[in-house]
Symmetry: C2
Subunit: 266 residues, 2 copies
């Protein structure tokens, strides 16, 4: 059996994307990370600001944004266009040959419009398939995919999809062929034992420890869905999920910062 | 010597992109065109309309739009995002696996900011290089590139570039490996002997005939730059340039409509 190569899937959110100097700093580190690697980005405030300027009303149901046709256009322009292509141009300048794509490109990620008994979320997609051979070919050509949080339904419709979900689905799909590390950029330095004490970061969290901390209510509500998703990804073949500050990407990868989430400690 | 395969590079402009039903009709025909093929699209009125809504003033110098930083953002959002990804999603639905890219993706097209003695056109790029091996690999994988009229300077800056130029540069670059047919979507059915008589279409125009028609002032000002560019492309290895209505793509390709421009008639 040949040893699997490490593939890193890094997801960054609005706190990086919205801040040009933080984004530049992050991209310099990301470019220096050994290949193969994949970057998944969210959109941040730019889409909300553009929707405001265009006087497109934002509808929220139970804390989730409803994506009507106009809001989808804004997402496609900002996530699929502006943010995606600017990141790609910057990575090229840093010597990292990247390719900016969304789920429609090469049928990368196919989804269906979310079905919900009572709420119509609009043009929001739940992922069905990831085109793993396509990603594999791009990686084999030395290209770093930069993925915008958009999918398509195979019938001509683009759909908005959460960037965390995109990153997790790609990480899971690539786990057959690679030893995948899934890195989530986060506002804090990692999972904390005490939310008010930034030095209480847990360096490594395994499933048994997580269960204990959860039952003792040390890990609280806000973190639980994120960690449940992380362990779900591990169950589906991802080797390690790392949560921490994206600017410290090298330290996260080297285990010197953030929280590494693993099924069980070696 | 092995016979070169035919590669068709099709450019569509605003008259198609701006009209959803014409675009759908065109894409159905384009999807049915045998591979390998490449689609290059302009942006049409959507970018101008968005710039108006965002109250970005449009500066024109000698009939050319000046691309300031805000206008570039609009171009990246509309050309690189909205138009590009919508076309890709629609082509996927039609069974044509496409990949939507701009010049920054995979370092596809590198350009430099236009230098001009007296006019600053802003973020406008003149093409330096086309990454022909990358296009070749995509085509080899059965992917149809859908190219937005944007380039990059290799130093992190995206640049606006005319879609006709993008199509021509790609066609020329691919002529080493392929028998390239470059098809320009046009508002008329082709080059006309009499601009007021739509039935006076010239089916095939070679260089000698062009020189004669030009000296007799039958081919007039508006067409001359287009035709000069076409013959320049032929000189650089493109086998045939076809001008005609994009909706009639199959007829154009089969020589039943439009004007086929060739160096000399067989």
């Amino acid at each position: 059996m040949t040893k699997k190569r490490i593939l890193r899937v890094v997801k960054i959110g609005g706190n990086i994307v919205d801040d040009a100097s933080r984004l530049d700093g992050f991209l310099a580190t990301f470019a220096a990370l050994p290949s193969p690697k994949i970057l998944v980005h969210g959109g941040g405030k730019i889409a909300t600001q553009l929707a405001e300027k265009l006087v497109i009303p934002q509808t929220m149901i139970e804390g989730r944004r409803v994506t009507d046709a106009e809001t989808l256009c804004v997402a496609v322009m900002v996530y699929g266009g502006l943010v995606n292509k600017q990141i790609v141009a910057k990575l090229q300048a840093l010597g990292c040959s990247s390719i900016g794509v969304c789920g429609a490109d090469g049928d990368l990620m196919r989804a269906h419009k979310r079905k919900h008994a009572s709420i119509d979320y609009g043009f929001v997609g739940d992922v069905e398939t990831v085109n793993e051979p396509l990603i594999d070919r791009w990686l084999g050509q030395g290209l770093t995919p930069v993925v915008a949080p958009l999918t398509h339904d195979g019938q001509g419709q683009l759909l908005n999809t959460n960037a965390d979900t995109i990153a997790q689905e790609i990480a899971q799909a690539m786990s057959q062929a690679f030893h995948v590390e899934l890195i989530f950029g986060f506002e804090k330095s990692g999972v904390l034992l005490n939310v008010n004490d930034l030095s209480s970061r847990i360096p490594v969290l395994d499933f048994a420890a997580y269960q204990k901390l959860k039952s003792r209510k040390i890990i609280t509500e806000g973190m639980i869905p994120k960690l449940d998703n992380a362990f779900s990804a591990l169950k589906k073949g991802v080797r390690k999920v790392i949560i921490g500050q994206a600017e410290n990407l090298m330290e996260l990868v080297e285990g010197r910062d953030g929280t590494s989430i693993v099924w069980e400690e070696n």
